[in-house]
């Protein structure tokens, strides 16, 4: 790849000699080589596997789009998609409402924010696998935190992970615990960087709190909300670690997210081509979503 050298941003011709002319290539090369070889190439390699039929991990023959057709005829696949969608919508909505509400409440209390911020980072830092363990212990029907609390007030211990609805709700709550702080911090930063003039004007005009929120806060905050929700949603779409530890997709298929189903199709059922087709479709959804997110972020003034 030939490159022209113009020092960024300015027209000033400031060129070193010799080595400096190829410097950008030398400095960019290793990074591109790593990323192309380890991430981008496998993505296309996966696309190729998705049209194959494998036996014992070896490619037997090319089957065209059959794996994709199989996916849409597979009730477990559609169910996993729906479960994932329900999980993402529910978790991200709750996180947005809680995070936004909290951020609006405390935006001006800088002392309060300073005191709690470091602690709020804890759920994000703790290893996701360990988050799964934490909640498995909480939900444990005989010995968990909930069981102890129920015992203390004289109730029978709740059975959470042994029934489908309970396990799904338990997973959503886990996600809310883990990610509401991030949502809160992003929205808080957004609120704190809003200009004050519209709010002063609204105050002078005697607008009510609610009207000010609808007319000024929400429109000004919209870009931040969009970015936060999109990022969180594409991340939640492929939640894996916590489910793997908490329920492994069970009981039944109640918490079988698409990532878990894809993983099992490959590693337990050894259906290489089918799993690759499934995961490639997930990649497509992701690419659209993240393309959207990246576009949004680029439009924001840096």
């Amino acid at each position: 790849m030939a490159v022209a050298l113009t020092p960024g941003g300015r027209g000033r011709a400031l060129r070193g000699s010799g080595l400096d002319r190829v410097l950008p290539v030398l400095m960019l090369g290793p990074a591109l080589f790593l990323v192309l070889g380890v991430i981008v190439y496998p993505l296309f390699d996966g696309l190729r596997s998705s049209t194959g039929f494998y036996r014992f991990g070896r490619l037997v023959r090319d089957v065209g789009l059959d794996n994709y057709k199989q996916a849409f005829a597979d009730p477990l696949f559609t169910e996993a998609l729906l479960t994932t969608l329900r999980f993402v919508v529910l978790a991200v909505t709750i996180e947005l409402l809680l995070g936004l509400g909290l951020a609006l409440l405390v935006a001006r209390e800088r002392r309060f924010i300073r005191r709690i911020r470091a602690t709020l980072l804890l759920p994000m830092i703790v290893t996701p696998v360990v988050v799964g363990i934490v909640f498995r212990l909480i939900y444990a029907s005989d010995v968990g935190l909930l069981a102890s609390l129920a015992h203390a007030v004289g109730l029978s211990p709740p059975q959470i992970l042994s029934n489908g609805g309970g396990a799904f709700a338990g997973l959503v709550i886990l996600d809310v615990w883990e990610w509401t702080p991030l949502m809160f911090l992003i929205l808080l930063a957004g609120i704190q960087s809003m200009p004050v003039e519209p709010f002063e004007a609204a105050l002078v005009d005697g607008a009510t709190g609610w009207r000010t929120f609808i007319d000024h806060t929400l429109p000004l905050l919209r870009p931040t909300i969009l970015v936060a929700v999109t990022l969180r949603a594409i991340d939640a779409l492929t939640t894996f670690d916590q489910v793997y530890v908490l329920t492994r997709g069970g009981p039944g298929t109640s918490t079988q997210l698409i990532s878990i189903y894809g993983y099992q199709t490959f590693f337990q059922f050894q259906q290489v081509g089918y799993a690759a087709a499934m995961l490639f479709m997930v990649a497509l959804v992701f690419l659209v979503g993240s393309g959207f997110a990246v576009g949004l972020m680029r439009r924001r003034p840096a």
Partner: protein
């Protein structure tokens, strides 16, 4: 600055002591602070307490606080099981891959921040790297597994280092590019007029100025890499290469009701990264929010 002091009262005017309303407000915020902190730490603390109980106490007593502290659960992780090996693997894999990514990634970020490549290639590269940075591991897990198998790299730390280095490069480029943009071009140009080449100007002038960004980036990369599970689960299966999250998760899969060992595994699993985060707390907020948002 507190929210309760009125901006309309000049600072010189002596203000009356805190009124009853102010004190009530203060109490309200204190309660709110405690509630927020409790929300974040209660689940983790309850795991910690469980890990210090004997299994008999866990199943027979229902008190939250341990009656007789025991370290038996922890001892079993290191003597009977391989948690020492997991810890070594995690530290090696994380530190080496992050170091590689910092070296390789800052250079690339510098080029993207400072040069206009022919045909606007730099913008496409920046865009593509950001997309890749968000790419969920699950979508390339099959080809990565097959490639590692083909190369005979299954069950090696090397395979994890390579994969993590690549993902970390995307993080480093994305974060460092914006740090470099904040540094005025004139400084390098002055150095180059004084006889530096561009590369030495980058090393001598730009890198030291970008050090805070480098630290924030490194912290974010260390946390995400240590915590990574899926690649490690798929690529490794023996204590010679398994990382902490894999060790903890597979232990959980094998023991079903050994709650003591389970909670101790959880504590040990998260301890290194929590300790690390506390040690670098000063830079943590910037690193985490930048990495997650920008």
């Amino acid at each position: 600055m507190t929210g309760s002091s009125s901006p309309l009262v000049p600072a010189a005017v002596p203000q009356p002591g805190p009124s009853r309303g102010d004190r009530l407000r203060g109490l309200g915020w204190l309660i709110a602070t405690i509630a927020a902190i409790a929300f974040a730490i209660t689940p983790v603390i309850s795991m910690l307490l469980t890990s210090l109980k004997s299994n008999r106490e866990i199943t027979q007593e229902t008190s939250l606080v341990p009656q007789a502290l025991t370290s038996a659960n922890y001892v079993s992780l290191f003597s009977g099981r391989e948690f020492g090996a997991y810890l070594t693997n995690s530290i090696l894999v994380t530190s080496i891959s992050v170091l590689i990514a910092l070296v390789v990634g800052t250079q690339a970020a510098y080029v993207l921040a400072r040069f206009r490549l022919r045909g606007g290639v730099d913008r496409y590269i920046g865009f593509a790297l950001l997309m890749v940075r968000l790419l969920p591991p699950i979508v390339i897990i099959i080809p990565i597994f097959l490639a590692a198998q083909g190369l005979g790299l299954l069950n090696t730390r090397l395979s994890l280092i390579v994969v993590y280095a690549a993902f970390n490069v995307t993080i480093v480029v994305w974060m460092m590019e914006s740090f470099f943009r904040e540094i005025p071009v004139d400084l390098e140009e002055a150095a180059m007029v004084d006889g530096d080449t561009r590369f030495t100007a980058f090393r001598r002038i730009v890198l030291p100025l970008a050090a805070p960004g480098l630290v924030a980036t490194g912290i974010f990369a260390v946390i995400t890499t240590y915590n990574e599970f899926l690649f490690a689960l798929v690529l490794t299966s023996t204590p010679g290469a398994e990382t902490m999250p894999v060790g903890a998760a597979t232990l959980i899969g094998r023991i079903n009701v050994d709650w003591g060992a389970m909670s101790a595994a959880g504590v040990i699993g998260a301890l290194p990264i929590v300790v690390f985060s506390i040690a670098v707390q000063r830079h943590l907020v910037r690193g985490l929010t930048m990495g997650a948002v920008k």
